[in-house]
Amino acid sequence: MNTFKPSRVGDAPLIKWSLITLAVLLSCLMLLVPLASIFQQAFAGGWQLYIEHLSDADTLHAIGLTLIVAALTVPINLVFGVLLAWSVTRFEFPGRKILITLIDIPFAVSPVVAGLLYLLLYGNSGWLGSWLFEHDLQVMFAWPGIVMVTIFVTCPFVARELIPLMQQQGASEEEAAVILGASWWQLFRRVTLPNIKWALIYGVILTNARAVGEFGAVAVVSGNIRGETNTLPLHVQLLYEDYQAEAAFASASLLALIALFTLLLKAIVEWRQQRSLSAHHDNEQSQL
């Protein structure tokens, strides 16, 4: 006879294993298979062809432009995110709550709409654009426009990571530092920055991933000029529409690699955060 073993709620083996199987199956089908197929398609013609596709002049330009956009976007949003998080968590001012809500606009608005708004504002007939046009400054359909919309789309990431953390940590450590005589810079470098370090890195990783991969907003303002204003995601689409599927997949595999690398970094950062907590406990144990 089987002895009856009472289980926790929802712990019946049938339910447990069917749910787990379903979750694993769906993850494979929706996430893993497409990812694997990118590489499979990219390498369909062998290594030689793959390298050839990637060393095409237009592709190289697209890679370069994408890296430049990310290299400009990330530092700007890093500084902006810290400033924003600092002002809404350390100061009381009218409209503070509204500002916190405003930060989320880029998340709420479709990137395509964001791109259109920029086009209307800064395009040659837009009311800022006409002034720029008179002074011979080309913003739309050129790299500055691409950088601008990318900054718009990615600006919440750093601030969103920092605000809850800084709210929870409070201002008293900073007050203590100032009372002890720390200057503004000493305060930031030695107290604030170490406290928000990991959240900041996390925000940067997310910002970078999105900046590299942004399609919708960039598509509207770039003008798709091959070899001039084409970023990597746009380039993939162009190649695909030109029936160069293999070349498209080669470029796409680069984006996929960046994504995988981002995931790896994110995992490392999370692991470091965990470890910096448990390290203290180990330290304590060894001292006892």
Partner: protein, 376 residues
């Protein structure tokens, strides 16, 4: 260093956190700011530190006007309620911080800093924890590190915001004594905030009682206890029994209960008599001077004393009365739960119905303790 506050006031939006107030703190004094939450005591402390700016008034450290001086330049030590230790620095780094951020000219050498930190950690008896991180310390240890950190720059003024609020009773008591010793040794001027009257009375040279943004009374603990100058101070300094009295010549009446005052014209009016719980005698009969009938509803031993909770019988009081006796005295009286007793105050404080002025202290000296039982 002495501290002088002149006409200091502060508003947060529409809320008057501090009404204009004056306070003189002498060099080397230990001052307790005592009051309920929202009384403005923490705001006052933060204004002295420079973390908050006053809307009006002047602040002097000694002869130096520091009203407009930035918190960084005021050179005060400050201990936060939640310790505010730098969480990513070790204990030693925390203590060294104030020395390391000094301008290059004044900054001691690295070796000297190290030596000072070691010495400070020895002073707070935590040298063995130098390499730990704050989250590995107990509350009491954190508080001592916070103190060591505040003292590292040798401030002449030490400010403490509810320093022992988050600690359990035993650690709190230890730390209080220890702080007092440290204060007497190092001779800094200290101001601390507390809502615990025992803490204020035990630690302070003088206590500043605050309510609603103004100072109710400033005095030494002994004087404050002997002569509270308002109902608020009386209420705040420990449990007190209140007899609401209607003047009916020749005595104060409250339904079946009465008290006969000494013959002074200013006492011949309605008001309230405040009686401390240990200044109450009990007997099985009333006497010619006092008739306060009670039922004993609870007898609770508290350490060396026994607390009796008394419910008025045949008259009205907003709250139960309390009396305290030694175990021995209670045994002599032979009282138990449910007994009917009559109380007589030995000392009472009379507040007239008009205003909130200082009370008149009353003694019933013709009633030596233990000889209460005589008939009307």
């Amino acid at each position: 260093m002495s501290i002088r506050l002149t006409n200091i006031s502060k508003k947060f939006g529409q809320f008057q956190a501090l009404s204009p107030l004056n306070l003189d703190i002498e060099e080397g004094e230990m001052i307790g700011l005592l009051g309920p939450s929202g009384s403005g005591k923490t705001t006052l402390l933060r204004i002295i530190a420079g973390l908050e700016g006053a809307d009006s008034g002047q602040l002097h450290f000694g002869d130096r006007d520091v009203t407009q001086i930035h918190v960084r330049e005021r050179r005060v030590g400050f201990v936060f309620q939640n310790y505010a230790l730098f969480r990513h620095m070790t204990v030693a780094e925390n203590v060294a911080f104030g020395l390391q951020v000094m301008p290059r000219k004044q900054r001691p050498s690295a070796a000297e800093i190290k030596q000072r930190v070691t010495h400070l950690l020895e002073t707070v008896q935590l040298a063995h924890l130098a390499q730990r991180y704050p989250e590995q310390l107990s509350g009491g240890q954190k508080q001592r590190i916070a103190l060591a950190r505040a003292l590292a720059t040798q401030p002449e003024v030490l400010l403490l915001d509810e320093p022992f609020g988050a600690l359990d009773a035993k650690v709190r008591k230890e730390l209080r004594r220890w702080l007092r010793t440290l204060h007497d040794e190092l001779k800094f001027t200290s101001v601390f905030v507390t809502h615990d009257q025992d803490e204020a009375l035990e630690l302070s040279d003088r206590v500043v009682v605050m309510s609603n943004g103004h100072i109710e009374q400033i005095n030494t603990p002994a004087e404050l206890y002997a002569q509270p100058n308002s109902r608020f101070v009386f209420d705040f300094l420990g449990n007190v029994n209140v007899f609401n009295a209607n003047w009916q010549q020749p005595r104060w009446q409250n339904d079946a209960a009465f008290l006969v005052p000494p013959e002074q014209p200013e006492l011949q009016q309605s008001g309230a008599i405040y009686v401390r719980s240990h200044e109450l005698e009990l007997a099985d009969k009333p006497n010619s001077q006092a008739c306060l009938p009670f039922d004993i509803v609870a007898i609770t031993p508290i350490g060396a004393e026994v607390r009796l909770e008394l419910a008025p019988r045949g008259w009205h009081s907003d709250e139960l009365w309390e009396a305290r006796f030694t175990h021995q005295r209670l045994k002599q009286l032979g009282l138990e739960k449910g007994s009917q007793v009559f109380a007589t105050p030995q000392t009472g404080y009379f507040f007239g119905a008009e205003g909130d002025g200082a009370p008149i202290r009353l003694n019933w000296p013709f009633l030596p303790p233990g000889s209460l039982v005589f008939d009307i």
